[in-house]
């Protein structure tokens, strides 16, 4: 034996293979060998035969059964003495012995590898015994090719791999099997849900890390409960007496999972509610929106996102009812026609204090804005975002709204700076929020107008301006009669010039001097500062602003991403000067490599092995 192995290992490449059929080749590529299958089947058949013939003999699972010849000669001898004892006694003892043998086999099954493997794959709480029994029955079932009696009609038939098993055990012949299928009696295998498993969980975690919303530790109890509720929302009939803040959280969660539909909408329509916030109205139709007004008569604040089906008929209904909204927020309501907008404002504009319209392109335009002056005397907040229709004329109309406190515009049409200047000269004094998103044409005159007119500004946003310069910003913030700002967003106010990216001869954009002046003006009050993309703020400017003597007590969130001059030292100085800083974003600041983050702070944007967010744990 040893010699054989030796020889074989010495000459492994000498095995000559004869011609093989194409089918054999094909199966071999899939690791299926016909000879192997035949050998296995023979072994199984022999094992089954010996199981059935010899009640007193034990069979092992995977060892191939001894060849039939010796068995046949051995078998008769022990059988003879039992037969002489008498038929009845034989049958009794043989039944007992059979049961005992079955038990032993089942125990062996439980010890076998196949069982262990299947046990691991159990996705519901199947009994272990059931599983063992199932494997036992599989083994003792007659093999394909053998004759068997049908369990229902008793006919003899050949067992094939397609033979159905009867509900009570045993096999059915083909006609009976077909009948069973028609009845639908064959228990279907439970469809395995493609669960995320550990991969899905980890992906989710990585996603939240990159978002910057990752928090280690356990989720809050509220979050866990709301998630469970969201998963089983079809079981909920009524949300009961929950406080409005909780209801809002549940609404957000449901909307996030796209579970807000006409049925679940009911949960949020409480007769005594004053506000209805629908974060995803994609599955709601016009009648659902009308239902809101029917069921919540004292509605004051309405917010609908993705409210595509908020159509003319809904607006007509709203205008004709006794509901006097104070706040209206519509996102995506593109099917509303201009007439209906005007009708609503005419009927119900008196009580309106806040109007926010997002992503409506065609019908909310200058004409609608022109009626605001006449019909909405108490309008304090106006936001028109992602709108293609409003032009400079519309903005001139806005200039007539003397009561306006918060103005926010994100328009796609080109608007000349003069329009903004005249707007500010009219209503700038009362403005607390002034936000112009994506205004490439706005230039320094706008900044001067802000400087001259605005006295009560708290929040300022000007993004993506190509024409404003450092000088302009300096003029704005220097000796400005306005008190310090709390929120400043000057994202992407920088030079857009591909041919000489690093040189900025005209100092376009928000640069070093502007930064110094801004912080000198608003340093004491500023909470939230975003200078994303203002590449030309120099390292010395950062170092001056965050010098050892300076503190910015209110600064809570700072974003200086893509400011390429930021270094580790600057980041360290920032952490020192801003005691209450929670989050610092340095995405794309390539010179930041190795920074110690103090405890309680979050640094976003430095790639590490864990992700893009570093939670501070340094005790300095």
């Amino acid at each position: 034996m040893l010699i054989n192995i030796f020889l074989r290992s010495r000459r492994p490449n000498r095995r000559i293979m004869g011609p093989q059929s194409a089918l054999t080749d094909f199966l071999a590529t899939h690791n299926i060998s016909a000879a192997q299958i035949r050998a296995d089947a023979d072994a199984r058949r022999r094992a089954a035969q010996s199981n059935q013939d010899e009640p007193g003999e034990e069979q092992s699972d995977h060892a191939s059964a001894p060849p039939p010849a010796p068995e046949v000669t051995v078998a008769p001898s022990p059988a003879l003495p039992t037969r002489t004892r008498g038929r009845a006694a034989t049958e009794l003892t043989s039944r007992e012995e059979k049961r005992k043998k079955e038990q032993k086999v089942i125990e062996k099954i439980k010890a076998s590898k196949k069982f262990q493997k299947r046990k691991r794959n159990l996705d519901d709480s199947d009994d272990e015994d059931d599983l063992a029994l199932a494997i036992f029955q599989e083994r003792s079932a007659p093999l394909p090719g053998q004759m068997e009696n049908c369990a229902v009609c008793g006919k003899r038939f050949t067992v094939t791999t397609y033979s159905r098993s009867a509900p009570d055990g045993g096999l059915l012949c083909t006609p009976c099997g077909k009948e069973l299928d028609q009845e639908g009696g064959a228990p279907k295998k439970k469809a395995k849900r493609a669960s995320g498993g550990p991969v899905g969980k980890r992906r989710q975690m990585q996603s939240t890390i990159l978002d910057g919303t990752y928090r280690p530790g356990a989720k809050s109890l509220m979050t866990l409960c709301i998630e469970t509720l969201a998963k089983n929302i079809d079981l909920a009939e009524d949300l009961g007496d929950l406080p409005p803040l909780v209801i809002d959280k549940i609404a957000r969660k449901l909307s996030k999972h796209r579970l807000l539909n006409p049925t679940t909408l009911h949960l949020f329509l409480q007769p005594s509610a004053e506000e209805v916030y629908i974060y995803d109205g994609a599955k709601l139709v016009a009648t659902d929106y009308i239902k809101i007004f029917q069921m919540v008569p004292s509605l004051k604040r309405l917010k609908i996102r993705n409210g595509i089906h908020f159509k003319d008929e809904v607006m007509e209904y709203l205008a004709s009812r006794n509901i006097d909204l104070e706040e209206l927020y519509l996102h995506g309501s593109n099917l509303l026609s201009q007439d209906r907008w005007k009708l609503y404002l005419e009927e119900k504009g008196k009580s309106l204090r806040s109007l926010r319209v997002y992503w409506t392109d065609k019908h909310f335009g200058d004409e609608v804005l022109s009626v605001l002056e006449a019909f909405c005397p108490s309008l304090e907040r106006l936001k028109v975002s992602h709108n293609q229709q409003v032009t400079g004329n519309g903005i001139k109309e806005i200039a007539k709204l003397k009561s306006l406190r918060h103005l926010s515009l994100d328009l796609r049409n080109e608007v000349h700076s003069d329009v903004y200047v005249s707007l500010l000269s009219e209503i700038g004094a009362g403005l607390e929020t002034f936000s112009l998103s994506r205004v490439p044409d706005a230039d320094n005159t706008v900044l001067d107008a802000i400087h001259n007119n605005c006295r009560s500004l708290r929040k300022l946003r000007i993004t993506e301006s190509d024409a404003m310069t450092d000088e302009g910003f300096v003029r704005l913030f220097k000796n400005w009669a306005n008190r310090g700002l709390a929120f400043v967003d000057l994202e992407k106010c920088r030079q857009l010039e591909a041919s000489h990216p690093r040189e900025n001869p005209d100092n376009v954009g928000f640069c070093s001097n502007a930064f110094r002046t801004l912080m000198a003006h608003s340093g004491r009050t500023i909470r939230h500062l975003n200078v994303h993309g203002c590449r030309h703020i120099s390292e010395s400017a950062f170092e001056d602003v965050f010098a050892p003597g300076k503190t910015y007590p209110e600064l809570f969130k700072l974003e200086i991403s893509f400011c390429e001059e930021v270094t580790d030292f600057v980041v360290g100085s920032i952490f020192r000067s801003c005691p209450n800083l929670r989050e610092l974003n340095v995405f794309g600041c390539m010179k930041v490599r190795d920074v110690r983050v103090p405890r309680g702070k979050i640094l976003v944007g430095v790639p590490t092995a864990v992700g893009m967010v570093i939670e501070g744990d340094d005790d300095d």
């Binding site: 975690m205 928090r215 109890l221 409960c225 469970t228 089983n232 909780v246 309680g600």
Partner: protein, 105 residues
């Protein structure tokens, strides 16, 4: 009662009289409970907090949550605690009352 510093454990009492003993540190994850155990309130002296509006089943789950939260504090890859659907809504009310809302640092 011999008083050598505050005890490590406190007792939460439900509306129907069931008592649950939890670690003080675990229970103070809830701002409401932390407030009750502060200063010279009666609860601070006896180390017992009674909740007349929270039933025992809910309070038991709350106690379980508090221990679970302490166990997984600042760890990554945390398995979610299972909340049976039947108690979901009442748990939300209890969570709101106890202030177990946002993830606190």
């Amino acid at each position: 009662m011999a008083d050598d510093g505050p005890s490590k454990y406190i007792t939460l009492v439900s509306s129907d009289g069931f008592e649950f003993v939890v670690l003080r540190e675990a229970a103070c994850a809830s701002p409401t409970i932390a407030g009750m155990l502060r200063n010279q309130m009666i609860e601070a002296r006896t180390g017992r907090c009674s909740f007349a509006e929270i039933s025992s089943i809910i309070l038991e789950k709350v106690a379980e949550y508090l221990s679970y939260r302490l166990k997984y504090k600042d760890k990554l890859d945390v398995p979610d605690l299972d909340i049976p659907v039947e108690y979901c809504l009442e748990m939300i009310v209890a969570a709101d009352f106890l202030g177990l809302d946002e993830q606190m640092a």
